[in-house]
């Protein structure tokens, strides 16, 4: 069913794509930085500290998006026995974890001038920390188990438990009284963010997405070469 995604067919693309993705990332990232640090206005309440949003929010969005993708691919891969989906998931995880850590650290830095504290055991922040722990467990499972069937099973179970946390992250600010502000951007309703701030936010999100694509491609190629190395041993 997913034959078009087989490594043999896509390696010629994935091995050449990183250089183009890298160039595109650099262009979008620098446009985003200029927009975020120079052109975008300061907030009437938070002043210039609002600029931290341009790294904090895209990092959080992408780490949640990557974890959701990993879960989806792991479940489909497990049901239909598609090994390549596990390889894709494994290659996505490192950038997901790094974006999660960026979201936590930049959120903490943002918290000091706005809330007066580096950290609070608030529902949104704690649930993001839990997501980071699930990323760690997922990556450790690949290191611990050598047997492929076992690692496919264990890593899928970790993602299934972890995905329960994703709606909690999303709705934590609505369900509980938190220090963290509610969402300013809504896909299905009117966003409360001004377009002069929305534009740099979207450009930085595009840059972060390109960076995660770049890391994914490099990691995926590495994993394929690792498999081919084992194949040479068997010749």
């Amino acid at each position: 069913m997913f034959k078009f995604l087989e490594p043999n067919r896509i390696f010629s693309i994935t091995s050449k794509a990183p250089r183009y993705v890298f160039i595109l990332f650099i262009i979008v990232f620098f446009i985003g930085l200029f927009e975020a640090l120079v052109l975008s206005p300061e907030d009437y309440k938070q002043s210039h500290s609002v600029r931290i949003m341009y790294v904090h929010v895209p990092a959080a969005w992408i780490s949640i998006g990557i974890f959701s993708t990993i879960t989806f691919l792991s479940i489909i891969g497990y049901i239909f026995k598609i090994k390549n989906f596990f390889l894709i998931s494994k290659s996505l995880a490192p950038s997901g974890l790094v974006f999660n850590v960026i979201a936590l650290v930049t959120g903490s830095i943002w918290g000091k001038p706005t809330w007066g504290t580096w950290w609070a055991w608030d529902a949104r922040i704690t649930s993001m920390l839990i997501l980071a722990l699930f990323y760690l467990m997922y990556l450790i499972s690949w290191r611990i188990y050598d047997d492929n069937d076992k690692v496919y099973k264990i890593s899928s179970i970790i993602t299934i438990f972890g995905i329960i946390n994703v709606p909690i992250i999303k709705y934590s600010v609505d369900w509980w009284n938190t220090l963290h502000q509610p969402a300013s951007i809504n896909i299905f309703s009117q966003s409360s963010i001004h377009e002069s701030m929305l534009l740099p936010l979207l450009i930085m999100t595009a840059a972060f997405a390109l960076f995660s694509l770049l890391i994914f491609l490099m990691k995926y190629n590495t994993e394929l070469i690792k498999i081919k190395n084992k194949g040479l041993d068997r010749l």
């Binding site: 490594p7 043999n8 390696f11 010629s12 091995s15 050449k16 990183p18 250089r19 993705v21 890298f22 930085l33 640090l37 120079v38 300061e42 002043s47 210039h48 500290s49 600029r51 931290i52 790294v55 904090h56 990092a59 490192p94 950038s95 790094v98 850590v101 960026i102 650290v105 930049t106 830095i109 943002w110 000091k112 001038p113 960076f211 770049l214 890391i215 490099m218 990691k219 190629n221 590495t222 394929l224 070469i225 690792k226 081919k228 190395n229 194949g231 040479l232 041993d233 010749l235």
Partner: protein, 75 residues
């Protein structure tokens, strides 16, 4: 103008440290991933060099192997 970008009404230390942390995380992740890729590729080339001609021809007939050997990805 430049002073405002650097100091940001006293918030510069927070804004710049958040951006710097992000930037350093990106560089670290890129360097680690790249070094893993180069290590595996070099291992592959060394192993391929030890094969006898019959096995090397067989291995070269596989498209991915051919791609790895010919791939000159600079990124």
């Amino acid at each position: 103008m430049i002073k405002e970008i650097i100091f940001m009404n006293g918030y510069g230390i927070y804004v710049w440290s958040a951006f710097l942390f992000t930037f350093l995380s990106f560089i670290s992740l890129y360097v680690i991933t790249k070094s893993q890729y180069v290590r595996e590729k070099n291992k592959f080339i060394v192993k391929f060099g030890t094969l006898d001609s019959e096995r090397a021809d067989f291995a070269r007939s596989q498209s991915i192997n051919k791609e790895i050997l010919s791939n000159t990805s600079k990124i």
